[in-house]
């Protein structure tokens, strides 16, 4: 089914109060409570803190490069209740809470633009 479907509802715009990784921002607290804080061991030892920070930044950079490689590629989203949809990846937000995609193939037609919540997605796959 490739009939384009008119936009059913517009996604909510970005929250003007949130800035980056601020763990105290209301958006972060409301939506993203599971992000790991610095470990207790690292808090007391500056050397360990530095190593932990270095590890975090290396891992995050690799993840961001992976996301960058994904842009404008066909991605298959594997969601709850065995729902699998395919779309063209646009972008993710900074906390990986939402994904912006185009040409989302759904059982009722093709959504030109859509916002997918990360809580609804179990995994997604693409070909590098």
């Amino acid at each position: 089914m490739a009939t384009p479907v008119p936009v059913l509802r517009l996604p909510k715009g970005p929250d003007p109060n949130s800035r980056g990784f601020d763990p105290n921002s209301p958006r972060f607290i409301a939506l993203c409570r599971t992000s790991i804080p610095t470990s207790a061991a690292a808090e007391s030892d500056p050397q360990q803190l530095q190593e932990e920070q270095h590890a975090r930044s290396v891992l995050r950079e690799r993840f961001l490069r992976c996301l960058l490689a994904m842009s404008n590629k066909k991605v298959r989203f594997h969601m709850h209740e065995k729902v699998n949809v395919e779309a063209t990846f646009g972008a993710s937000d900074i906390d990986v809470l939402n994904f912006q995609v185009s040409d989302l193939h759904t059982p009722i037609g093709v959504q030109k633009e859509a916002l997918i919540r990360s809580q609804d997605v179990i995994s997604f796959t693409f070909d590098a």
């Binding site: 990784f21 993203c32 599971t34 992000s35 790991i36 470990s39 690292a42 190593e51 932990e52 590890a55 975090r56 290396v58 891992l59 995050r60 950079e61 690799r62 993840f63 490069r65 992976c66 960058l68 490689a69 994904m70 709850h80 900074i94 906390d95 990986v96 809470l97 990360s118 809580q119 997605v121 179990i122 995994s123 997604f124 796959t125 693409f126 070909d127 590098a128």
Partner: protein, 200 residues
């Protein structure tokens, strides 16, 4: 999603030369970025979702913000990457170390940008070319070491392509990037209009 109280906290054990260990859900979450970094490039098995589906692959990275696990599998058509979202990860088990070929393929999958720039002479030549082009277009630009500074708000690093511009001011960034995109290959040694600063 919070780890349930029924989560097992299993033993962490090592055997012989190859390290095999299972890190249970609460252990994986709390073991921190240093352990994750050590597991990168190893083959892992991830159990995800309520149906506890298993995904196997070479660990590319774990996102410290969302704990999403990125796995790579190599097939006939090339590599396919699967990212399992952090909230869905139930279990992660490390299976084996990569062989040198796989390690090389993993390294070259998403390479970091090259840190080595062009040699100093070519850099100087490119920098002058870009500076002259901007000045001919009446953009105030100065040379600052290896970088070009535009109106004190925009910086252009080597090798001075549109993507090397950085600025907090979106409008200036857009203007300068557009100019750099249409820059002719050989910027002629034309007269510099009066009033634009010359960094030399």
């Amino acid at each position: 999603m919070f780890p349930s109280d029924a989560c097992r906290v299993g033993p962490v054990f090592r055997r012989g030369q190859t390290d095999y260990w299972t890190v249970m859900q609460s252990g994986w979450l709390h073991s921190g970025p240093q352990l994750w970094l050590r597991c990168v490039h190893r083959q892992v098995r991830v159990t995800a979702g309520k149906q506890r589906e298993e995904h196997r692959g070479w660990l590319l990275t774990v996102d410290p913000v969302s704990h999403s696990v990125a796995l790579v599998s190599f097939g006939e058509d090339g590599a396919s990457v699967q990212v399992v979202l952090g909230h869905a990860v139930e279990d992660v088990e490390v299976l084996q170390e990569p062989d040198p070929d796989t390690e090389e393929r993993l390294r070259s999958l998403f390479p970091p940008p090259e840190t080595g720039g062009p040699d100093p002479d070519e850099r100087h030549w490119r920098r002058s070319g870009v500076r002259r082009w901007l000045q001919q277009n009446r953009v105030p630009v100065e040379e600052d070491g290896n970088e070009l500074r535009v109106a004190h708000v925009l910086t252009i690093r080597a090798p001075y392509r549109p993507d090397d511009c950085s600025s907090a001011n979106q409008i200036i960034l857009d203007r300068v990037q557009r100019l750099l995109r249409v820059q002719p290959d050989q910027v002629p040694d034309g007269p510099v209009p009066p009033g634009t600063s010359d960094g030399l």
